[in-house]
């Protein structure tokens, strides 16, 4: 059996986040920023929303059905960006994308989300890991 390969992907932390995701709750409809994104590979849908005060994220949450990878990734991301400003978030998105593509990046800034680096060995799952980050990226690139 080669299920130990899976350990590269499904680290303890990831599964913990997936099973008990942080900032995971339905949309209210009153958030300042909101986007829905689809993973075309599997059809999973994610909703992401946050409010900003003085260019800083005050609260953020996500919702939707997804695999362990996408849920954990969204969960870690939301943890990370609370209190961050637009520029900082854009940098994080950039770092994460690089890491997922297997390029050199400042992984330390990504905190817990570093464990998702294992996804580079599972090319079919990269989209799962980056889904929430793409959602954030798109929200940030639309001027409010």
């Amino acid at each position: 059996m080669s299920l130990h390969n899976l350990d590269n992907l499904y680290r303890q932390t990831i599964m913990a986040y997936a099973q008990h995701p942080h900032h995971y709750k339905p949309m209210l409809g009153t958030e300042g920023y909101h986007i829905q994104k689809y993973n075309p590979t599997c059809g999973d849908v994610i909703d992401l929303a946050f409010n900003m005060v003085d260019d800083r994220v005050t609260d953020i949450h996500f919702y939707g059905d997804g695999c362990a990878i996408s849920k954990a990734s969204a969960s870690m991301m939301t943890d990370l960006v609370v209190g961050k400003n637009r520029d900082q978030m854009m940098q994080l998105v950039d770092q994460f994308s690089k890491m997922a593509r297997g390029e050199a990046s400042d992984v330390k800034s990504l905190g817990e989300a570093q464990v998702l680096a294992g996804v580079t060995k599972f090319p079919t799952r990269i989209k799962c890991a980056t889904l929430a980050w793409h959602a954030l990226d798109e929200l940030l690139s639309v001027e409010k």
């Binding site: 059809g43 695999c67 362990a68 599972f122 799952r125």
Partner: protein
Amino acid sequence: MKTIKHDFPILDQTVNGQELLYFDSAATSQKPQYVIDSLVDYYQNNNANVHRGIYELSERATRQYEQARDKVQKFIHAQKREEVLFTRGTTESLNWLASTYGVENVKQGDEILISYMEHHSNIVPWQQLAQRVGAHLKYIALNDDGTLNIADVKRKITDKTKIVSITHASNVLGVINPIKTIAKIAHDYGAIMIADGAQSAPHMNIDVQDMDVDFFAFSGHKMLGPTGIGVLYGKHDILEKMQPAQFGGEMIELVDLQEATFQPSPWRFEAGTPNIAGAIALGAAIDYLTKIGMTEVEKYEQSLVADVLPKLKKISGITIYGPQNSEQHSGVIAFNLAGVHAHDLATALDQEGIEVRAGHHCAQPLMKYLNIAATVRISLYIYNTHEEIDRFIGVLEEIKEYFNREFA
């Protein structure tokens, strides 16, 4: 049936360090060497453009191409060879119907009847048609076990229904629909009957005359044939009145500056250089299947289902969609394992060399109807074996273990 796995060279390889086990034939089937050889033979010996050539090579290519049409005719028991049109696949076949027959015959206020278990390719073309002409698209409900609710066909159909288009075999639920019964109802109301045969043609005897369908669509690549070739069967009388969807090349008779006349069916519908090698190799795939015999194919697949379904059900936490008894279930089996997302389960299986699909299987309305987001799907074909099923069940149990043990 004797084991034929060794006829399929692709199956003799390792994936992620494990022997390949291919359980995704509903997406596309693997090809026997016999079909691959047919492609090689065509390109190494007979390649030329068809129909217009007046030399030996072109005559050979044309003869082989038209022989492939004869083979398809026999395979689906069409009355005439002219009723067989070559397309790229099921999706193109259905789109042609919507954009030609549909646009000509469906008017504002008319109705098109499909079901909740359709593949996107048998939904979206009809949505587009309905939007274009102002018609209504209606959905037939399913019974609790995932079979089509025939009573609901009778409830939903009206005199305004012009087209009924239903999948012959579901690509998710493992259900075979009683097309003959539905066709009878459709015709009683003056509607035409279209069957999506993408998941049936590879696996059972097809008799378009007995089912009395007006159109029947299927794909070569799901029945041992190459990619890029498929079929649209249509009743001769209807085809004779139907406009082609594409224009140019051999389908033309005479071109004036402002207008043109076209060849008779089926050539009228095959614009441009067709997928000649593809059609010929589909013919070879039909030869291969016919040699086994479609009754034998069906029987063998049923034996695989009778093997795997009970074993799957015995694993706690497994939910199977569609009929629960194997006699009613085709070789397409969609399921979920509690606590492990379909996507994660598919990746784990892939690590063991077992290739399955996970997701919505291009059937989002069905997923919503069943109130699920995604499923894992295994789909079996003649090259799969009982040994493979045992290995699959074993690995599935270990994966369940893995996710439970590590992350409970």
